[in-house]
Symmetry: C2
Subunit: 129 residues, 2 copies
């Protein structure tokens, strides 16, 4: 299926909202961006989480953390987005930076139907505070 310009715009907006919510929203507000039966695999190769309850659970680790995300590169094609981004997490002892490439597919309403995050510990840097 080829994306209409409308769907492409909707996907772009959803990615930007997603990255914004990583820094500012609760885990359930992040999970609301996903379709009801969506799947999440982060990092790719780890067990797949399915549905909003499991997906909310995944993001719970961000609920009490000072983190923010910046978009570096976004590509959209059909119903798929791939984007390179930077997540900076300020811990009491250190600042941790990771720059994954995420791959997401979307339904026609712009909800995420699947997410796979491609990164490894080698892509993280840690700077003591």
């Amino acid at each position: 299926m080829t994306a209409t310009p409308d769907l492409s715009d909707r996907i772009r907006a959803a990615v930007i909202t997603y990255l914004d919510r990583i820094g500012t929203a609760s885990s359930s507000q992040i999970a609301e961006l996903y379709a009801i039966d969506a799947t999440l695999e982060d990092p790719a190769g780890s067990p797949t989480r399915t549905g909003r309850a499991e997906i909310t659970d995944f993001y719970r680790g961000l609920d009490n953390v000072d983190a923010h995300a910046e978009l570096l590169t976004l590509r959209i094609s059909g119903t798929t987005a791939a984007f390179h981004f930077r997540v900076t997490t300020n811990l009491p002892q250190a600042t941790v930076v990771v720059e994954p490439i995420d791959v997401m597919t979307f339904d026609q309403t712009g909800h995420i139907t699947s997410m796979r995050a491609i990164w490894s510990p080698a892509d993280m840097t840690m700077t003591p505070s």
Copy 2:
């Protein structure tokens, strides 16, 4: 499945070889990097090509073209690689640059089992010669 360090190294080498062959090798030499029954979707959302004959056919357009590819960012996780790269094609009338994000999965021997390229015409630039 989680990547062993060995498989991760093999995937990294395969991606680098792939980008190198885009500039220097024949379409069949590029197709040899794929598993026998691999799939290719470029751009994502277009019809899937399956097997080496169809994949060779896809790359035939590069056979007589002055092109080269540079890796910008590579992430590997499990059996999946995602990479942002730049392809520069020198045509008689113009230089065309496109910077897709490709997502590839690999078998244990380091052959590509699937490739999806995420990009759209908006990601291309053209400079008249």
